[in-house]
Symmetry: C2
Subunit: 430 residues, 2 copies
């Protein structure tokens, strides 16, 4: 069963291309055709779930406790589910207690509630550059000023974070928080090194900083490695966000926040104003999944599949990409971050790519400031394994043709697509 359309593509396309809504709809109509290989949506391979087990879980929830599952619940989420989520956190070496957790509608609602809790118009938030498009969306919808801290293959460059903090201090301002995805970052596909985690924790203490640690992918390391969470290093300074979307299924819309008590209480009130309560039904499905099914084996199955897909995509990139194209080498999760040579703008190129039956997300989607024109996110988790080489080949061919055109017009002086000099701020090594 495939999606009719890729729900991510339209959102990204609207934000980062100059296309009108009707042009985007037309692009979409093409992009959702089965012959297009989409590396756009950051979607897990839900078809790798044990569907008989899921069916058993959902029907037993109704059979055993239907009236409760179909009723309203409390705003903080079911205590039983929160206990199970604490267990999931412990597998990631993230400390937590069920009382500290708020069950949210996926990780996105967590990011939104935290933004609503902390941000007044124009407040500064520091975030990795590039970073998760939905994180930027939540911040912008509350009119935050997002300043990006460049990412390299060791994750967020913490020295540059320190520079940004000092710069803010000179301006007499203070960041409301630092937003980071330390593990297998979306979209860069890199993780923060151990040394940088410790340095970030020190900076948090020294600058009285709050950290927003967003961790959807921590258990999806290809080698099963777990790095210490920021929450384990400076618990009182971290608001932690988790989600079952990639560990079980996005369709249950179950994420959570773990926050220090006073923040938690304020977030519960905001969540009640936002949508009263999470669904008892989906909460009880997740509870029963975690209580009765070998959920860790399922994560291993996902991770093995993603590792295989990543290898296939990396081999195809090696084979198909023209000289001057660079990419990251992921050690887990979903994403490869591609950097194209000067003269090519990935936003402008998207329509042509879809015309050649391959889709990606333009890099500008992952910056609040217009950077990322030379980058693209390729997601390998969702497309079928055997179609990945063909999609990469189409993209490679397109880039070959474009580069030929650029060289014919500009020679060796092709312009950079970014409004500022290219450098670590707009890409990661790889």
């Amino acid at each position: 069963m495939r999606l009719d359309t890729d729900p991510y593509l339209s959102r990204y396309a609207t934000r980062v291309t100059g296309m009108s809504a009707s042009e985007i709809r037309a692009l979409f109509a093409v992009a959702s055709r089965p012959e297009v290989v989409s590396f756009a949506g950051g979607m897990p391979a839900t078809d790798a779930l044990d569907m008989a087990a899921v069916e058993d879980v959902v029907s037993s929830v109704i059979r055993d406790a239907g009236a409760l599952a179909l009723q309203y619940g409390g705003g903080q989420g079911r205590p039983e589910l929160r206990e199970h989520l604490v267990e999931v956190m412990h597998h990631e070496e993230v400390p937590g207690h069920a009382d500290d957790l708020i069950v949210t509608v996926g990780g996105q609602q967590a990011l939104e509630l935290i933004a609503k809790c902390f941000i007044d118009d124009g407040d500064v938030v520091l975030a990795e550059g590039p970073t998760y498009v939905g994180g930027i969306g939540a911040l912008k919808s509350h009119r935050a000023e997002v300043r990006h801290i460049p990412v390299d293959d060791q994750g967020m460059d913490v020295d540059l974070l320190e520079d940004a903090l000092n710069e803010l201090r000179r301006e007499g301002r203070k960041a409301k928080y630092v937003y980071t995805i330390p593990n297998h970052q979306n979209p860069a596909g890199v993780s923060m090194s151990l040394a940088r985690r410790h340095r970030l924790a020190e900076l948090a203490e020294a600058h009285d900083l709050l950290l927003l640690e967003d961790n959807p992918y921590g258990l999806l390391d290809f080698a099963g490695r777990i790095e210490p969470s920021l929450r384990s290093l400076v618990p009182d300074r971290v608001v932690y966000v988790g989600t079952m979307s990639k560990l079980f299924a996005p369709g249950v819309r179950t994420g959570w926040i773990a926050a220090p008590g006073p923040i938690r209480d304020k977030l519960v009130l905001l969540r009640e104003a936002a949508d009263l309560c999470p669904s008892n039904l989906t909460q009880m499905i997740v509870e029963r999944w975690l209580a009765t099914q070998p959920w860790q084996d399922q994560i291993k199955r996902f991770t093995e599949l993603y590792r295989e897909k990543a290898e296939v995509m990396l081999a195809a990139l090696e084979k198909e990409m023209p000289e001057g194209v660079h990419w990251t080498t992921p050690a887990g999760a979903f994403y490869i971050w591609l950097t194209v040579p000067a003269g090519i703008d990935t936003s402008d190129l998207l329509a042509k790519a879809v015309g050649r039956r391959v889709a990606y997300v333009p890099g500008r989607g992952f910056y609040a400031d217009g950077a990322g024109g030379a980058q693209a996110r390729l997601c390998f988790s969702y497309p079928e394994l055997e179609r990945i080489p063909e999609g990469v080949a189409r993209l490679g061919e397109l880039l070959h043709d474009e580069l030929e055109l650029v060289r014919a017009v500009f020679g060796d002086d092709a312009p950079s697509p970014d409004p500022r000099p290219s450098g670590p701020a707009t890409g990661v090594g790889g």
Copy 2:
């Protein structure tokens, strides 16, 4: 299967009583005991659902389309579900097209997104007084100024609305919108008369007003009557909110907004920033419920049950309440609105009531401005039919005792619990 706690009670209690969080937790621990009859939570009787049919629906969704149901979806909601919801609207004589709809996490998310879309700090919204506590919560979380328009047994007093509009005009201000629940209003249990609907539509045209029509209960009229929706009278001026919470089940967290195109587009972007997308799983469950089950018969079954419970509660009130207590007579849905004599404050009384094993929501929960101290909402939809007389008897006994105390202290000059003179603004006839 009963709820462990009444999720509404804590929210209301926090807002309208002077109790600390720990006092409220203690109150709760008592209120959730099985011996307490709770008229607090506005919850449907989910135990009246055909659970075998629900189980069949949920398991067939996973069996037939599990990978899709468990995946991400689009931010506007599934087109297939929106088609079905349009059909539900047609049963209420509400015009609509699937393109105009946005599927939300219950009606509450609809109210939140609309507030976020329209409200800047201090903007004025006109709302019925009393009105839905969650509607006030959404408005306050965006720092709106809520001005109440009194309600009587014909619904919102539209003449007083006109006065408020003229007053705003004199102040050089304009209401962002008028929030109304025309059918079987929460908490007053009254509906807007036909004449007033027409008059409200005229006022909307004359004052260039936007109306927020919140309609959770339109199909729950005890006699099966349907009044014309505001959306049918002035479609371009109405943002309409519906929900399946009372027509099917709150646990599926499925509501919707029907809005004119430009508003809809903005709301979809806000929803994506808020939580990406509604759950495919719960959407497909609702779709299949509406497509394969006799959902209108189920609504008839609910309505018949609620009518019976309302009659039992009305008879018990007649029998048990002391002189000077008044209440509304609902023609549908969930609620009776009680007004107590001068000298009694329903917020102060709540702890005593719970001590006597009966719970309600103090009237102050339904006003943004501290009014409602002489009122209480009694919800009859959720408690078991046979326990309603006993709960009302406990409340009646408490009020008898309190009135005796008031008379002993104040004679006939008992103080009003409201900070302003009592009158139509703080109660409805009945």
